[in-house]
Symmetry: D3
Subunit: 132 residues, 6 copies
């Protein structure tokens, strides 16, 4: 419908870099019900905000994982961003640390649910990797 | 009462490194009403968690600022940690970025209130700096 | 036990108008464990508050859907009220709009989870409708 | 307008027992803008819920203080209920404990802000007590 | 720096229609610290989302007021949007209703703090109106 | 690795007293991903906080259940603590009461989800009890 703008192209590349197939699936799942919400995620979320620089993508994902674990109302998005964080270079150990830190600021349940989401995300990656 | 343990000493040094006088004031303000809460902040928050390594202190503060801005129920602590983030090497520009990113995950009011807290923290630091 | 009061009768009619069978199921599910909570929902929630007028039922449901999507801690109730909103005349398109608006005030995860709850509610209604 | 019902009378007595003048002020402050909200607080909050028995008023106030401190979005109501808890027999030490416990479940900022609200409430009571 | 786009122009007009001077002040207050956040509010919040149609502006403001009162972490933005709601045709009585409804879904403290914010907003408007 | 300290031993006994096998499972589930988070739960949560006295364990669990139901972002932990509350002497009726009270402070969805978690916890205990 709309010509892909520069924001759209930049956002789509950024979304693929960070979230990979999981991000594409979220956008695809919106097509029949709220395609503009998918467009805003691409254009505003990734085309505007994630593309700003100053912070590295790794730092942005650490901050996102911290916020989603603290809020605790967005488990599906937390899992997508734990994958995103691993995709842009965060190690498993670094993600454990940022989630443990949430025990201090948002309480142990937030930290625990974050750790269990990380364990599930790591298991998915192992399952998806063909044995050598 | 209790002999300062190794956790306590390590936590106290860490608290002073990160939060400086603002952190000492929080602990002092608890002495007459809930001194053990101050002790837990030092021993658990700073002696156990902030001292774990793996993440840099700068990364820990970016995550903390993200979480406190997203939660939105802890404005005094957000301001303490914006100072803490500046103390351990985060730039004003990096803090603006992490707060703008919260607009995506926690909504524009969370981002706005975070930015206004940052502006207040920066003004305090300017006011506290004697002119050369 | 208690004689149904005028509040109770009014609330029960209102609950059936808005939430239909889904509302009746919630009240029934409380009978063996906390029947008074079901009674308060009928008498206070529907008999007192929903019956107040000034706003149309459609406006009340738009506000309820907005709040539940923003809070994000009440997915089962959000789905009940998406059905309720459709029952009292909100269109699918209007519900998409109110949920997209939540991206601005509560963040994209809140909007996304709301949209996916709407998609599930719409699918349930399609499944429940016999083909002509 | 409405004849005070039994629920209303029971709720009003309960509100005065628990919250004293602070509770009466909240209801009075609603008279010009939303008097029915004050009525619902009296009739539903105090006439229905607080009057149910099974738990002591002290246990109800400990639970209320815990919830309000954890939620963190209701500082004025937290202070009213810290007074209420002291009015129905909770000690200062017990309130410190329930607030410290919130550090575990809702994070240290929630606990800290609760403790500082308690300190403010205790100071108000001292100020209001004429010296012997 | 950037040429005002069509989104920007549309958003700026919409922001002025809804929030009037209060909205302009928020954007102005961001100029020295995070001007892009102001730009995103204009372009995404008002240029994209508020301009979508389907819902009336009045319905959008009722939903926004509901969400901000329920979340409870955004009192300054709640007051801006109570003014916005009055600006686009919501009556004082309708706003009282949507806030009372929040007692059911987010608890009485959320409703109470919303009502007191409304009272403050109404007082500001009275103060700003020259006597005839 | 670390010698179990007195805090650790005290915390482990307390965790077993309150949460029984469910608590041990949570700690065990953390062993391969974040064992230190399990250690902090034992040492800080149970060794420091739950062991403080002043409040009875029953009062601590009532407060915990209230907070977790109000926050609404920690359903797995809510269920663990409903079992914990029953383990330390809270009756089913008392837990119903504390959850109904949350309708007043956190809204009916929080109360409803708490009651349904209680129903699930009670069903698990019935299933686990061999018929005489």
């Amino acid at each position: 419908m709309q010509q892909p703008s520069e924001r759209h192209r930049r956002g789509w590349e950024m979304l693929k870099t960070i979230d990979g197939e999981a991000g594409e699936h979220v956008v695809a799942a919106l097509q029949d019900i709220a395609p503009d919400l998918g467009r805003y995620i691409i254009e505003f979320g990734f085309g505007d905000v994630y593309s700003r620089g100053v912070l590295t993508l790794k730092e942005r994902e650490l901050a996102t994982v911290a916020a989603l674990a603290a809020l605790g109302n967005a488990q599906p998005q937390l899992k997508v961003h734990l994958h995103g964080a691993l995709n842009v270079g965060c190690s498993r150990e670094e993600l454990v640390e940022v989630l443990i830190q949430m025990a201090v600021y948002a309480g142990f349940p937030a930290a625990l649910n974050g750790i269990f989401a990380l364990r599930a995300a790591l298991a998915e990656r192992t399952a998806a990797t063909p044995a050598g």
